[in-house]
Symmetry: C2
Subunit: 206 residues, 2 copies
């Protein structure tokens, strides 16, 4: 697999390539970037660039072998890998919405569990995911290969939760609390500022 740095936009289109390819007859053998672009309503240059970042199998004139391209796109998204490496801290409405959100599977991701200080014993979410008391957190991280922590606690508790994540070897943080976190420089933090998204949309029509 080619290891180019891919943009967020490219990553966003990969599930739609994969969905399209899986729905056509695989025995068609090859598919060209031109055909894919036309079928998905995308620019041809864009499709070539996207696929080139993920697969080295494209050939002039013949295009990409469909079976191989599917495998490469799946490998890129990490489909099939065991993916119990994401946890949520904060099992309020937002935390539970994320825990039960089915769209992560398109990217080969699955959230393993949620944790909350207000939970006294293990609960199950609507989709059957475990929600544990926060006391279980350190042990859970020892028993599972947790890599990403999602913070959905109020801003006032976010730093404390973040420190706990870092102490437990988390490698990346996705933060929904409206605050700025202090983390070691090697740990990427992605902030999801809901209010800012709405404010920005509002400004567009102001």
């Amino acid at each position: 697999m080619k290891r180019a740095e891919v943009s967020r936009a490219t990553l966003g289109r990969i599930p739609s390539y994969l969905e399209y390819l899986k729905n056509i007859n695989r025995h068609t053998g090859n598919i060209s970037a031109t055909t894919l672009a036309k079928e998905l309503g995308l620019g041809e240059v864009q499709v070539r660039k996207d696929l080139g970042a993920v697969s080295g199998a494209g050939r002039p004139k013949t295009g990409y072998p469909v079976e191989q391209l599917i495998e490469e796109l799946e490998a890129f998204l990490g489909c099939g890998k065991k993916r119990d490496n994401v946890v949520i801290v904060g099992a309020g409405k937002l935390g539970r919405a994320l825990l039960d959100y089915s769209g992560f599977a398109d990217y080969g991701l699955e959230i393993a569990a949620a944790f909350d200080v207000a939970v006294e014993e293990k609960l199950w979410s609507n989709s059957g995911k475990p929600i544990y008391p926060m006391e279980r957190f350190d042990d859970f991280c020892k028993e599972h290969p947790v890599k990403i922590g999602i913070i959905t606690v109020p801003a006032a508790q976010a730093q404390q939760v973040c420190d706990r994540l870092v102490q437990n070897g988390i490698q990346a943080v996705w933060c929904f609390a409206p605050c700025a976190l202090c983390v070691p420089p090697e740990i990427p933090v992605q902030y999801e500022n809901m209010a800012l998204s709405l404010a920005y949309l509002n400004k567009k029509i102001d």
Copy 2:
């Protein structure tokens, strides 16, 4: 008020300027961009640019009059204006999380109500916001100046909901369903793809 197009990043910093200014003694009279930058840990050039986009009151040497700057920042964010112009369709966990999220107030925004086909009579959210049956939607839009619609229904229902929003004169759409919507060209749509955000973070540490 100066009407420059502001970036999302600038917009994101405005609440922190406002919070800082409101917490200092307003009788200090003036404040310089240099002081603000130092106090908030931001670059001086950035602060000058941000404030310049919102206020024309800054003067070399003397800086910005604090009272006036507060007013201009507030006006920019629309604080104080009646803001019952945002509605949610889809009162599942995510819809209700957004409905009760208090962070919108930092940007002078408030969500007026949520609607859901599965709701049979008016309910109240935890924070006291109304959740109506979907049948009430058209009437609500006639009675309120609804400008922004938030879509938190499953992807399969999103286009139908979007059409209903557009029929009722909505001016912008914020879509959490993982799909592409068809809307008239003058209506901005902002997509919030939760799965993509997590996938992107995951790729960073892959």
